[in-house]
Symmetry: C2
Subunit: 272 residues, 2 copies
């Protein structure tokens, strides 16, 4: 038997999906049919959403679960008429904070984090353009503008990490691919030598690297386990010799890699 | 007077930062000193975090606010010893769901959304590589593999939108830049004509476009208001004539553009 689950937001729904998903993941063995209802920011839209929720209750024969982060009380009231079990991820925390701060909350949309800030948008876009322009060792001269230079062998996750840091935090992150040439001597490549404080290394289990490379170039020398082992070993030796902080990304998501770098380097997000 | 705020997570902290930030944004006029404590997944780490929280209380002379999404009760118990006002964004919702489902929650980390799923990682990486390979009209042949083709004039936000959809949802999104050549006749460019159902258009206020282009090529014809007005007008005419759904991105964040596209096209995230 499936149960309907609705993630309802007055904005993008990204946060309510993630947090609601984490909470539901604590219940193994319950089958869910999940939907996200985004941009529910007027009583009219909430009424339509309530209709969808009622429909799920009728169709599946069981009360749906409704996670919401809607701020406006009038919109929330309409939503509640859909009859689901409403779990309000914002409102529950407003009252204790009102008591703590000794002042009422605004209870208005649009004051929320990240809305309509063109300065922040521009910063993030510049950072994405920077990541693209310096991707894979292009334009080494731009390393001066980089706040972070991510090192790693081919397919170790450098590009998505840099793009994620740019898109989410507005961080100027370049990446530098370590190749055979860089391993010929135990020192940092010339392009990086004067920029040690900006460097961060990625590593990966050679077997996982082999899998990833096989998908791109099946049967190649490049994708052989031996070559992957060799490159990973040399990259890790270089990190150690040069004192570059590094992590093993094998079991990490892009978000985890990016936030671990933030944590380790104490880089300050400029547009988070 | 500033008040310390801590976003504490057993994983990346991205969700607790966002949701906690939205909640705090409801309180204008209160000054916060915000920090994120990530990967707090053992009692030892929680003890260290509690120390940081205590330190803030002493230094600022006021009880800190602590938002947390930590799952493990033992870790949470240690954190609570820091003495802040703890607002638990997960635990508050576990009990009502246990009652509703008639079964206990696992209360364990690692079962949460997105952890250690290499299939999902690979899908997202493939999608990022696809977005990069087809960026700005490169490799038109790959449009067959695209689930979505984002249209727009230069600097209207196509690339970050496609990268965001790839990184976050594993969606294969290509982008196609509309240029003077495409405006010579009122039909869709040949590369797009057979793929109407995959198309989505971006538009933007010409004055905002001018600002963005001026930063890249100050004083150019390309960045003149007249040229921006002309291109935007022609792009919108094309969308209307060809029946391509489109949005005005002027006041939207990348997240909002991406999720609006999901909403409008009913594209299914493959790795959300």
């Amino acid at each position: 038997m499936e149960r309907g689950v609705f993630f309802v937001s007055d904005r993008t729904g990204i946060t309510v999906e993630t947090l609601g998903g984490s909470i539901l993941a604590q219940f193994a063995g319950v089958a869910f049919r999940k939907s996200t209802l985004r941009f529910i920011d007027t009583p009219e839209r909430a009424r339509a959403a309530a209709g969808v929720i009622e429909q799920s209750a009728r169709e599946l024969g069981i009360r749906p679960i409704v996670f919401t982060t809607i701020i406006d009380p009038a919109v929330r009231a309409e939503l509640a008429r859909g009859g689901g079990l409403v779990l309000d991820l914002v409102d529950a925390f407003i009252a204790p904070l009102e008591a703590e701060f000794g002042r009422p909350a605004a209870r208005a949309v649009g004051v929320t984090h990240g809305a309509l800030d063109t300065g922040r948008y521009t910063l993030r876009m510049d950072a994405v353009n920077f990541a693209l322009a310096t991707d894979d060792g292009l334009n080494e001269v731009d390393y001066d503008r980089a706040e972070l230079i991510v090192l790693g062998v081919s397919r170790s996750g450098k590009t998505p990490t840099c793009l994620y840091l740019a898109l989410t935090y507005g961080i100027y992150a370049a990446n530098y691919p370590l190749t055979e040439d860089d391993f010929e001597n135990p020192r940092l490549p010339a392009a990086l030598a004067g920029r040690r404080t900006k460097l961060f290394g990625l590593s990966i289990d050679p077997r996982r690297l082999q899998e990833i490379r096989q998908e791109r170039q099946p049967g190649s020398h490049y994708a052989s386990l031996k070559q992957c082992q060799r490159e990973v070993h040399q990259a890790e030796s270089l990190y150690r010799a040069a004192g570059v902080p590094w992590i093993d990304t094998t079991r990490m998501s892009v978000e985890e890699i990016a936030t671990t770098i933030l944590q380790t380097t104490a880089l300050q997000p400029r547009a988070g």
